[in-house]
Point group: C2
Chain length 336, copies 2
């Protein structure tokens, strides 16, 4: 059986089995581990603090193309996608390590711009790059590891703690980064303000670090960052928490320029687009109101966790009718 | 200017400049940092312990080929090269994160074997894999981050602390892994025992974790692991410590099967071959004797750090004559 035939989720499950068959937990490192493979970041105790670590790679022609992505923005994003994982735990980022694969024909100036993009975001977050390696490879790849901590006596947000009856909440806007990708890939033309908004969302995602910490402080237990898209990431929470989820599509926070520019297609961008790097969390209404009071970030309730349909996400319209994607995706259903 | 025109050392220097121009050290993470870019691993304070982190990638057709490297051995080695960096700091490894690039046609069974190889070494070291990601890429790449600590009140070994007059010491044997690579690449045939020794050195390097910790305990300050070869790695110490080095080539510990199988060429394998993952350290004679007393690992004095020839390594023969590589490498000089 080939890797392409079983998909990423099944592959990660098989890998987890190899790692977890260790059995003996006598090692100190294993005793201190709180969260291993399967969440946005790993977590372990050191004294009265909890440390965090996460790794993510951006690979040329898989996650980006060099003709469409400026180097500074590529650097920013390579760090941002990892900071978003730390945000999803409610943590404080501290250090990054960068493993860089470069083809020999890359300009040195471009590598400098890449690091300037990373350091720009790093400084904004009071963190720095402490190590890495460079390799000569046929194409560009940037693998970033970010280390952080929770702050004394704070417990990380997980994917596995959602309960039926919890409301499902998202920060910010969904689908704007996907709109930016559509614009770039199909050479779509918009007015300069719209173009700027779409580019900003795609190239300069702002990891929700303060919002993640606020969630922990106000008593939220469950969160994930939206990297693969609302549908895929909410499904991760459903699987890890052994619950279902019901989302009311008309409640999805879709920014006006996306709605205006993409019309019917905007629902698909919001549900399946990915790369928004917003936080998706679940909580009761009191906790949500406490969070809302302490942030300027938009906080939208979009649905509810359910006892039924374990591991699945059901979408419904204003009349309560279930909507499903067809071969064309979700756009078919938005105006029903 | 292209990346290939300036080489890795100059590139890393330029990257370090971008990272270190931050200026302000008000962030807690920056105040706690002890060693950033430029050593085998990064190091920072948490309480009365020091944490370590390092990252290294193995890339298909750059560091290995799939036709010559069994998957289990590939996994072992991907972790071992990183553990060797922790050993060079004198640290205790705890956790690993693995970022895996896989082409779609790879067999799932092979991925399992890869992880079994990693976990085999991980369990031996009482550590585990706590996170990672998988990506679909045109060829296989394995990027491993290892986290560890020094143990309470222990300070890491560095590249920058060598002093003129220090003796230069290596653990174990040099050139055996390079002999294995020669054997594989040129389809050389040896008796089964020799073949086994060469393969073991190439595919199952045993990171010098206990020896690294012993060095710290006995008062050694300076070390590096030999990954790029004795010449290149000793040069790293010279540059970082602002010293020179003089190595007496007839003192290099070259294992009998290497000498016997490669004759004149064995000196080149020992000096430039790389991938031995032995420790290279510098210390005064009393400290070296204390180390020697507490290990079964071969400990060989091979030369001395010097005030002259800063940043350079000079090799000399038994008569004190300087030997230099010519276009054919070092083999020309062994029998002089």
């Amino acid at each position: 059986v080939k890797v392409s035939e079983i998909g990423e989720i099944a592959l990660v499950e098989l890998i987890s089995n190899v790692i977890n068959t260790s059995g003996e937990k006598k090692a100190k490192a294993l005793q201190q581990l709180i969260i291993g493979i399967g969440d946005d970041a790993a977590a372990w105790y050191t004294g009265n603090n909890i440390q965090l670590a996460t790794v993510d790679a951006l690979v040329q022609n898989v996650h980006f193309t060099l003709d469409k992505t400026p180097w500074f923005e590529l650097g920013w994003k390579a760090l941002a996608v990892n900071l978003s994982d730390i945000a999803a735990m409610g943590g404080i980022p501290e250090y990054a390590l960068v493993s860089l694969g470069l083809s020999p024909d890359i300009e040195v100036d471009n590598v400098i711009e890449l690091y300037e993009g990373m350091m720009n975001l790093a400084r904004q977050q009071n963190m720095t790059i402490i190590g890495g390696d460079t390799d000569s490879t046929p194409y560009v790849s940037i693998t970033v590891t970010v280390l952080g901590n929770m702050g004394v006596d704070r417990h990380p947000l997980t994917r596995s703690s959602a309960k039926p009856g919890d409301f499902i909440v998202v920060t910010g806007w969904l689908g704007t980064a996907a709109a930016g990708l559509e614009m770039l890939n199909n050479n779509l033309k918009f007015d300069s303000e719209t173009t700027a908004i779409f580019k900003q969302a795609l190239f300069h995602p702002d990891p929700r670090i303060p919002e993640g910490q606020l969630l922990v402080k106000k008593g939220v237990k469950t969160a994930i960052d939206i990297s693969d898209g609302l549908y895929a990431d909410l499904k991760h929470i459903c699987r890890a928490s052994h619950t279902g989820a019901k989302v009311e599509v008309y409640k999805l926070p879709i920014d006006a320029p996306v709605k205006h520019s993409f019309q019917d297609k905007s629902l698909e961008l919001a549900i399946s687009g990915g790369e928004d790097y917003e936080l998706l969390f679940t909580a009761d209404i009191n906790t949500i109101e406490k969070v809302r009071k302490h942030t300027k970030c938009p906080i939208s309730i979009i649905g509810e966790m359910t006892q039924e349909n374990i591991g699945e996400v059901i979408f419904s319209d204003e009349k309560g009718n279930i909507v499903k994607p067809d071969k064309k995706g979700w756009e078919h259903f938005i105006s029903k």
